[in-house]
């Protein structure tokens, strides 16, 4: 029992850095993200009997955090008409949080994505989950996750004006395709 408890705590600790990165990537603010992570830790701790040792602790924690976030947002939506919402643009408050200008541009672009596209591309592209795991975490179909990730990629390319041409010279194969996508 005590042994199991220690293992649970150790595994939880091992996932925390990634869980926190997920929260910060979703929300864009360290303070609110850390509050969310704290709530998630407490929820997970209270529910630890439900967790089966040896199964995917990371996916389990990410699911709890995501549910916490959306239930918070729903509550918030009922209370205020989101003028200072969790997802509003907050970059100005952390001008030096991220070293390079490039990184700040990227963060800004990420914040402009619709919530469901942002979480999909983060889960698959950065947190290291498979499409299947991401679908499970988000409670949606595999095809839905795939199309969200694709749309997120396209949108980020538009926002960051990455076409493959600018930085690296025209690419005879992809340039005609990518530039067509931007003519809308």
């Amino acid at each position: 029992m005590d042994q199991e408890q220690t293992t649970f705590k150790r595994e939880l600790l091992a996932v925390l850095p990634s869980l926190r990165a997920f929260a910060i990537s979703l929300i864009g603010r360290h303070d609110q993200a850390d509050d969310l992570v704290q709530d998630t830790i407490m929820k997970a701790w209270a529910k630890q009997e439900q967790f089966e040792m040896g199964t995917n602790m990371k996916a389990w924690l990410f699911t709890i955090l995501r549910n916490e976030l959306y239930s918070k947002l729903r509550k918030r939506g009922r209370e205020v008409q989101d003028s200072d919402g969790i997802f509003t643009e907050n970059l100005a408050q952390h001008p030096s949080q991220y070293g390079s200008l490039d990184m700040q541009d990227f963060k800004k672009a990420l914040e402009k994505l619709p919530d469901e596209q942002r979480e999909a591309i983060i889960l698959v592209g950065a947190s290291g989950f498979s499409y299947e795991e991401a679908a499970e975490i988000c409670g949606c179909a595999l095809g839905t996750i795939k199309s969200r990730v694709n749309r997120a990629r396209q949108r980020l390319q538009e926002l960051l004006q990455i076409s493959g041409e600018g930085d690296y010279g025209p690419d005879s194969v992809s340039a005609p395709i990518t530039s067509r996508a931007f003519v809308s």
Partner: protein, 62 residues
Amino acid sequence: MNTVETKTNGGQPPSKAGDPNAQIAMKLRAFYHSVQDEALPQRFLDLLEKLDAAEGGVRRAE
């Protein structure tokens, strides 16, 4: 546990540097990992200690 991190490459096969998707994937990972590499706030470690201690107390009382 963290070995999954290297398993995917933005959900797509390795591609050349000029590929726009590869650039997006790279930036996304760079951003995410810059946050992941930050030191964990002490408040989380304190919280876990507290939860652990509280649990121990309950168990002893039972």
